[in-house]
Subunit: 151 residues, 3 copies
C-alpha cells in the first residue's frame, strides 16, 4: 500500500466512530459475499497477499486466487448438500495501531440450515484480523480463526 493509495483522510485522523462504523459495514458486506459464494468480490476484500488461517482448511491459504478457489469449492459443496451457511460476527473489538492499521478480535458464529429443515448453530469461533486501508477501503491482510470445539 503506497501513500498514493491512501485516502485524503488517513487512518490516524479518522474519528473512532467512523472507523468503527466502517469496519462493521466492511464485515457485513464481506460475510454476505462469502455466504453468497461471490468468489472474486469476496477475495477482493483481502489484500493481494493476505494470509487466511482457518481450522476448516488443512493449511493457511495466501492470496486472492486461492481465496476465491476456496469459495468456489464451498459453492460446489453447498450445491450437493443443500445446506445454507450464515456467518455472523459479534462482540467486535477494534484496536487502532500506531501505523494506521487495525487489529480486530471478534466472535464468529456459523448457522446452518438444511433445505426444509431446522436451523442450528454449526460453529462458534474467534476471529482475529489485521486490517489495512487501501485506496479508501479496509482490507484484511491477515486472518486467524480458531474454533471453540477444537480449543
Amino acid at each position: 500500500m503506497t501513500n498514493a493509495q491512501m485516502l485524503a483522510h488517513p487512518p490516524q485522523e479518522r474519528d473512532f466512530s467512523l472507523v468503527y462504523a466502517e469496519v462493521q459495514q466492511f464485515y457485513a458486506h464481506q460475510m454476505q459475499l462469502f455466504d453468497s459464494f461471490e468468489a472474486e468480490p469476496w477475495a477482493g476484500t483481502f489484500t493481494e497477499n493476505a494470509v487466511f488461517d482457518v481450522p476448516t482448511l488443512p493449511a493457511p491459504v495466501r492470496g486472492r486466487a486461492e481465496l476465491a478457489a476456496n469459495v468456489r469449492r464451498n459453492r460446489e459443496l453447498q450445491a450437493k448438500t443443500g445446506e445454507q451457511l450464515r456467518h455472523w460476527l459479534g462482540m467486535l473489538d477494534v484496536q487502532r495501531q500506531a501505523n494506521g492499521t487495525l487489529r480486530t478480535r471478534c466472535y464468529a458464529l456459523v448457522y446452518m440450515t438444511p433445505r426444509g429443515g431446522e436451523s442450528r448453530v454449526h460453529r462458534v469461533c474467534v476471529m482475529e484480523d489485521d486490517l489495512v486501508l487501501c485506496r479508501g477501503r479496509w482490507r484484511v491482510s491477515h486472518r486467524l480463526v480458531t474454533r471453540d470445539d477444537l480449543a
Copy 2:
C-alpha cells in the same frame, strides 16, 4: 414525505458513522418493540403505507393498522404457547441511495425459549429494507424477509 418533514441535516449531508449508528439504534428499538408486543409503537416505525412481506404471513401486509394487528395476533399466540421469541439482526449492510433513502440487507435470527425450557434457534432469515427519513426518524417503507429453510 415532504421537504418540510425533513431534518435540518438531510440524509445526503449525514456522516456515514451517524447513519450507521442511527440505523443500528433504530433496528434495536424496533425489534425490542416487536418482541414486547408493543403493537402501535412498532407499527409507527414503518411509513404509513409500508409493505411488509414476510414468509410467516400468507400475503404481504400494507399499512400500520394491519402491521399492528399482526403484532396483536402474535401476542395472543404467545399467551397460549408461553414461548418467548427474540429477533436479532446482524451483518447489517447499509447502502445509501441517491435520493437520500437507505437500502439495507442483513441477517435475521429468531431465538425461541419455551417457559422453563431450552432456548434454541428458531429461524435464520435474510431481511431487506428500504428506509426513509421522516421528521428526523428512519422508517421502513418496504421490508422483504426470506427464510433459509424455504430457500
Copy 3:
C-alpha cells in the same frame, strides 16, 4: 465521579455516533474479558460500587472484589467441565439520560461449546445497564439480567 474525572468532551456534547460506537466497543471488550476469565480487568469495567444482578447468582453482588471473585469461580468451573461459554450482545438500545449517563437495554445470548462437541445456544437473556463516564471511559454502575426461560 468528579468533574475532574470527566473528559474534555463531556457526555452531553458527544455525537450520538461516537457514543454508540464507544458503547459497542466497550461491550465487545467487556464480554471478551469475561469469557477469557480476566477477573480484575473485567471487574474494572464496572464502577467501584456497581450492582450486578443476574439470575445465575443467588443474590446481587456489589463492588469489584465480588465481581472478580465471581469470574474466578467461573474459571474453576470451566476447568472442570471443559465447556467454553461465549456471551454475545445484540439489539443494543442506547438512551442518553439528562445527567449524561446512559441507559442501555439489549439482548444477551450465551453459546456453549463442549470440548470436541457440538455448540449450542445455552441462554437467551435481556440485559439492562446504567453506564457512566469515568475518566473518559464508560463503566457499568448497575446491571440487571433476566433470563427468558425463567420469565
